[in-house]
Amino acid sequence: MKHLVFAAGFLSAATVAVAETPELTVYTYDSFVSDWGPGPQVEEAFEAVCDCDLNLVGIEDGAALLARMKLEGASSDADIVLGLDTNLIVAAKETGLFAEHGQSPKLDLPIEWNDPVFLPYDWGYFAFVHEADAEAPSNFKALAESDKKIVIQDPRSSTPGLGLMMWVKTAYGNEAPAIWEGLADNVVTVTKGWSEAYGLFLEGEADMVLSYTTSPAYHLIAEEDASKAAAAFDEGHYMQVEVAAKLAASDQPELADQFLAFMLSDTFQGIIPTTNWMYPAVTPEGGLPEGFETLVTPEKSLLLSPEEAASARDAALDEWLTGLSQ
């Protein structure tokens, strides 16, 4: 019994101690908070300047993150949501939970960005990754005609899967169903998420896997392995732009603003390339890490506006399902 009393006293003391430092809660996807993601470094760096406690909460991926926000509504503990992408922005805005950021940063994106609510923190191009010494097709039509085998992700459960679906739709419009039909015999299988697909590719189950143009950078920089390359497609590459926003109901609005500003600072942006393996939204002063210069840079960047993406989505899914169920 004594122990309990002691423990209770200790706990309440601890609570008081925490209450003195303001806490900023950021909901993000799981791989951001993982020990190998940007989370630990970001937390350390921000806490060094904010005199606050940064609480990163990891929730599967972007889509699950939005689903969680819908569940929690205005009573959410979150002050910031970090990790949605352009495909989710319209649905996120419909919740009415997010507030304008009020900032006008200079961004290094290949496209124009002036969303008043969502701020990008990194971006990348979807691409098929293959063994560097193998020939790669240079567009979807060539891929469909080749006997190359590919592994892709399901758009219903995976962000890259959704990206690929949008890529084909944006590049080919009404021709998209024909592209999917053509690809059907190239698709070895469709996986639930990126990890499964990439794992299958590394096991040699397919010649190519849908990933990012930045994927070879990981192998090159972290493993000193130059054997992976991304195929450059001449119809252009669809982009993923990852964004963050603050919650209107946040009880730490100033701290939230401070975090959003920090997010585009050199410190944060310098962490991104070799932890999240994406391009930083603002190129840090020291430039990109060595190795990134070897990556393919698409001649054309494809991206639907959030509104276009939202309205194209359901029809594109039907085309995807029909085309691949041949």
């Binding site: 993982s34 219903r156 070895v188 169920s325």
Partner: protein, 518 residues
């Protein structure tokens, strides 16, 4: 009512069953009530339903059909290493899905060992992706369970019966008809139902090995409803369909399996006199070798790929392993606290509703249950603080159907055979549980606890919904490693998980293996 007096009451079993049903339906209801108006079930959902029933049905049929000869061969043969083999054969069942799929692919995939051997002979690679691939994977997962449960059925046939049959000169077919068929008739339907229910919630395996969107299951449709359409109503509806199917399968199994048990003999060593001719021995040997190859090669592949990084794993993996061991321990205790009273209540007879409640845990979509519990907990407490207890509880509920399958037949026999003596000695309730039921069920309890610990260790389940970055479990950490391109470390961590799961299973099941030998 001229009821025979019983040494155990059904009350606590009923309470547990009601609690399980309340958690599952409560979570489902919580999700349904949060739903805004969405669209109802569409054509694609019905297609998903059809595919789900097809693959689950085929998977259950093949798993059991193949398990019967394997169990029979194992029951009839004594050979060096039999114990170890029986234990190791159980391993695929306790593996986390993603790990096992990669192991399977390393053997049966386009670039797998089998394809490479075929390639040497100038043959094309194995086409593993398709409905047959889905069934193959599900058989890989469930054949071990089916084999163990059927083997247990065989071992519960009292040695006296075999002696009698041998004395009557029965061999082969006669032995099957006299002794083995009645046992199978009693044991097989519920195993079919359990495997059918497991496969109903399959998603990643079905999709990955199914080779494309044709292999869309209900669970994937639920996933889509949740995170593509944000349509909670449809998710709840689909989950209700899953539950409905499971209840139908469970009820059907109960109806098929009706009939009396064998009773038990004195605890004599089971010795078989049949099947000693050369032909059956050869056949049994071949069956055992094939099953062992099918189940063990993917494990070997995983071991080989994980070995290089096993010792250099980052420290976070080991702390996650510790968390997983903790969750598994709590799960195991919870499971036994639920399964024993339920098994005792079912053993009294007329436990149909209880058995159905027990099987629900399998069919409930982890996504729906997790979300529902999240909705239920959130108004009064921070769900993140509940990550581990909720994970342990949901894991225990998921293992409950297996545990009941393991415990009930034996419990039934013990109550039927020794209940009267116990009652005449005024041993009821706890004394009966403590001094008769539990000691008589030692082997089965060990087996069930082993399953609980191992499955809980490898389960990703609801932890992803409640994930707290500081308390990752080992499976979650494996996913994180894979998500960070660290496939090699992930393979090492997967091997660590395999070793831990299997170690826990081995330790707890020791009694079970001793029993298997006796």
């Amino acid at each position: 009512m001229a009821d025979r007096a019983q040494p155990v009451s059904a009350t606590s079993g009923n309470i547990v069953a009601a609690g399980v049903a309340a958690i599952i339906f409560g979570a489902l209801l919580a999700v349904a009530l949060r739903a805004e108006t969405g669209r109802g079930l569409g054509a694609s959902d019905w297609a998903a339903l059809r595919f789900t029933i097809l693959q689950a049905g085929l998977s259950a049929l093949f798993s059991v059909a193949l398990a019967i000869p394997v169990a029979r061969a194992l029951a009839r043969r004594r050979f060096a290493g039999r114990r170890v083999l029986i234990a190791v054969l159980g391993a695929p069942f306790i593996l986390p899905v993603i790990v096992a799929v990669l192991g399977l692919i390393m053997v049966f995939g386009r670039a797998g060992w089998l394809s490479q051997i075929l390639g040497l002979a100038g043959l094309p690679p194995v086409q593993v992706y398709g409905l047959h691939g889905v069934v193959l994977a599900h058989v890989f997962f469930n054949l071990p369970l089916a084999t163990r449960l059927i083997l247990q059925g065989w071992q519960e046939i009292p040695g006296e019966r075999f002696r009698l049959a041998a004395q009557l000169g029965a061999d082969g077919w006669a032995m099957f008809r006299l002794i083995e068929w009645p046992m199978l008739r009693r044991v097989v339907p519920s195993i079919l139902a359990v495997i059918f229910a497991i496969c109903l919630t399959s998603f990643a395996v079905a999709l990955t090995l199914g080779g494309g969107p044709r292999a869309t299951t209900i669970e994937l449709a639920i996933y889509q409803a949740f995170r593509f359409d944000f349509d909670l109503g449809r998710a709840a509806m689909l989950s209700a369909v899953q539950l409905g199917l499971t209840v139908i399968a469970g009820a059907l199994a109960l109806w098929l399996a009706r009939g009396d048990g064998f009773g038990t003999g004195l605890d004599r060593v089971v010795r078989r006199w049949d099947g000693q001719a050369a032909m059956p021995r050869l056949l049994d040997g071949a069956v055992i070798a094939l099953a062992a190859g099918f189940l063990l090669l993917p494990l070997l592949a995983m071991t080989l790929s994980g070995l290089p990084t096993l010792l250099s794993l980052p420290q976070q993996v080991f702390s996650a392993a510790l968390t997983s061991v903790l969750v598994a321990s709590i799960s195991t205790v919870l499971l036994l606290a639920m399964a024993l009273p339920m098994a005792a209540a079912i053993a009294r007879g007329r436990g149909g509703m209880l058995e159905l409640a027990g099987i629900l845990g399998l069919a409930a979509s982890p996504l729906v249950i997790g979300t529902g519990l999240f909705i239920l907990i959130r108004p009064w407490s921070n769900p993140l603080a509940w990550a581990l207890p909720v994970t342990a509880l949901v894991n225990a509920i998921t293992v409950l159907p297996f545990a009941l399958r393991v415990l009930v037949p034996r419990a039934r026999d013990v109550v039927a055979r020794q209940g009267r003596l116990a009652v005449s000695l005024d041993m009821q309730g706890w004394p009966f549980l403590r001094h008769v039921l539990m000691p008589r069920l030692k082997a089965q309890i060990g087996f069930a606890a082993g399953l609980a610990a191992a499955l809980s260790m490898g389960d990703l389940g609801v932890i992803t919904l409640f994930a707290d970055p500081d308390v990752a479990t080992l499976p979650l950490q494996i996913y994180r490693l894979m998500g960070a391109y660290q496939m090699d470390s992930a393979a090492g961590a997967a091997l660590l998980l395999l070793v831990l799961s299997f170690g826990a299973f081995w330790l707890l099941d020791r009694g079970g293996r001793a029993h298997a030998e006796a």
